[in-house]
Amino acid sequence: MKFQHLLLAILLIGAPHLAAQDEVEPPVVIGSKVFTESRLLGEIMAQLIEAKTEIPVERRFGLSGTKICFDALKTGEIDLYPEYTGTGLVTMLHEEPITDPLVTFVRVRREFLVRFDLEWLGPFGFNNTYAMAMSDAKAEELGIESISDLAAHSDTLRYGVSHEFLNRTDGWPGLVETYGLEGAEVRGMEHGLAYAAIQSDEIDLVDAYSTDGKLLRYKLRVLEDDQQYFPMYHAAPLIRVETLKRYPELRPLLEQLALRLPDARMQRLNYEVEEEKRPFAGVAREFLQKEGLIEGAAKPKAQRAPSARKQGFLTLFRSRWSQTLELTWQHLQLTLLAVLIAIVVSVPLAILCTRVPVLSMPVLGCAGVIQTIPSLALLAFMIPIPGLGLGWRSAVVALFLYAVLPIVRNTYTGICEVDPDLVEAAKGMGLTNGQILRLVQLPIATRTIMAGIRTSTVISVGVATLAAFIGAGGLGEPILTGLQLNDSYLILCGALPAAALAVLVDLLLWILERVLVPNGLQLSK
């Protein structure tokens, strides 16, 4: 009973900024993937809805990868996000790619309605297919114009492709087969970093989106897909039928965006954000105004946009100060909530292990196995679990799972290492098992247990930066955006406070440890 209250209290304390769910009118939650184009389209749709309706809009931008977006949409964590027809066909329906755009669209539209209760609205107009790009100079030197030309050089060229591309059916494996690139040296890397890598001549080819603004900046040549391998990727709003029923006005409104963005236009908008460092919100607003879709100056709420170009780190950092504080606070809440739950669970679990020794192997083993799961994978596993979904709950559960091992292990070890003579003296004096635990074993093990808690907390502060990938906020947000925009200053705006937070939290816990460790134990023996 008491325990439940405590847990409830912890959950409530931990989640004030997230717990305020609107009961009157549920907001339309708009998601987007991590890259610029997806965010821009998300922002454009958000501003249009905000300007033309009274429906509250919530932005959940920067979700990592197709699976996370799609799962979130199916479970209703988000209501709509911009998706690509080719992705829908190949990744979600697991069908063979179709090269005809209209056939593709009709196919996914019908299947999604029937199978997922999701509807594809009118496409924005551009085809952002995958493309292989290499530096103009190198392509010139080797005389490469089409992807077919690569086969002759497959043992010397180095490929750096995004992880998603590396594993998609319509990505790397099929490309290798179609164009005979067997034996090529390929590395999976963060997309934003791949451009930097090609600049510094660490790789020769990257996978790119054909509307990518960076292609202009880095003087990259898009190789001709002469075998028509890449399917069509027309972007369109993918929305829940349920949402359309609740807000019927969304359909005609979003259809107004159809075919407004041909390839060149989209590439230009991407370029403005990525290369001219203009904020998403501004670029989106200007577009909508030019198209006559919104009037004058519609003021979007809650912008999280990178600031103007070419400013120094300190200026950027200062301009983001209040935002940084807010993100740090979110970060701290995620971390502390997870560690608190981990303490509440792990310490009793470890005590149980000392009492029932057969449990210790399986319990410590399981905790160890969890520790080996890559953090991002663990985060992604949480999303389809009912009640967790996209956002802070999943992040807290994943962080909690990571925090368990150090605390369980140290508590177990700490108790086991208490001088057996002392335990026997206590028992011989007539202390009950509970009294021995409370008065002798736990106080003497305090330092070891606290060391475990410190380790867990510092790990959690680090892993929590990944929470941004599933829309849980925190200091990972600027890191993630910075990676997408290849903006090191923005990355530092998240990384430095995160590092400082880790050091600070560790210091505070060290002080707490000094207070908690009984005086008699601070003496040398």
């Binding site: 206590a426 007539g430 009984p518 008699g520």
Partner: protein
């Protein structure tokens, strides 16, 4: 006071099979020293009295009552327990160590303090001077005295001491032996003391029980051992342990 009957040797296997052949009685107010080589079963025998070890056969009775029928925690609170180096809890002050059992018994603080003061005085320590210190700040001899004081807290009927003075240097040990004898006169508690030091056994014990391989070899006073050793083993044990 204490009767130990282990008349029926266990057939085989069990951990306590070595104690198959001990049967003895400790008299009221007596100090009985258990002595023997390591592995002789002297400590095991002592621990069957406060049920830290359960005998596989035989019975231990205190004032005619089988200890198996008593709640182990209640039983142990009636029996003081002192181990080598005192067994003090390093995170408690001296006063808290000595008063721990009184506190667990729910005594009011003032009464606990008075009792702690009295107990420390009994072992020549001063509450004001030593009470607030931690075990780590005391000498080995002082810690040992605190251990004895702690064991007396609830006025036990019996005190069990497991090689209590084994880790002390010879001068301190001599001094603390004298204090022990004085204390014995004062409190007159039935005591079972385990030692591997024959001189200590003769000096402190009213009677001495010599064990070997789980069997009671001889039980008596110093003169019995010196003048009428039960067998050759006793003779050679005396020789090697008195002049070592």
């Amino acid at each position: 006071m204490i009767e130990i009957r282990q008349e029926y040797p266990t057939p085989d296997g069990g951990v306590f099979v070595a104690l198959g052949g001990v049967s003895l009685e400790v008299k009221e107010g007596e100090t009985l020293c258990l002595i023997g080589t390591s592995g002789s079963g002297k400590t095991t025998l002592m621990k069957t009295i406060n049920r830290l070890i359960e005998p596989t056969t035989g019975t231990v009775k205190i004032k005619g009552q089988d200890v198996q029928e008593l709640d182990p925690v209640r039983l142990r609170r009636r029996i003081g327990y002192v181990i080598q180096r005192g067994g003090l809890f390093p995170h408690f002050t001296i006063a808290d160590n000595v008063g721990l059992l009184c506190k667990l018994e729910g005594w009011p603080p003032a009464k606990i303090e008075a009792r702690v003061k009295e107990l420390l005085a009994l072992v020549n320590l001063d509450l004001a001077e030593h009470g607030h210190r931690y075990p780590g700040e005391l000498s080995g001899g002082q810690r040992q005295r605190v251990g004895v004081a702690r064991s007396l807290a609830l006025d036990p009927e019996i005190i069990l001491m497991d090689e209590p003075f084994g880790a002390l240097d010879p001068i301190t040990r001599d001094q603390i032996h004298d204090e022990f004898l004085r204390l014995k006169e004062e409190v007159k508690t039935t005591t079972v003391l385990v030692t591997h030091d024959m001189a200590e056994a003769f000096k402190l014990g009213d009677r001495v029980a010599l064990l070997d391989k789980g069997m009671l070899v001889q039980l008596g006073v110093e003169a019995d051992f010196r003048e009428r050793p039960a067998n050759e083993f006793v003779e050679s044990f005396l020789q090697s342990h008195l002049h070592a």
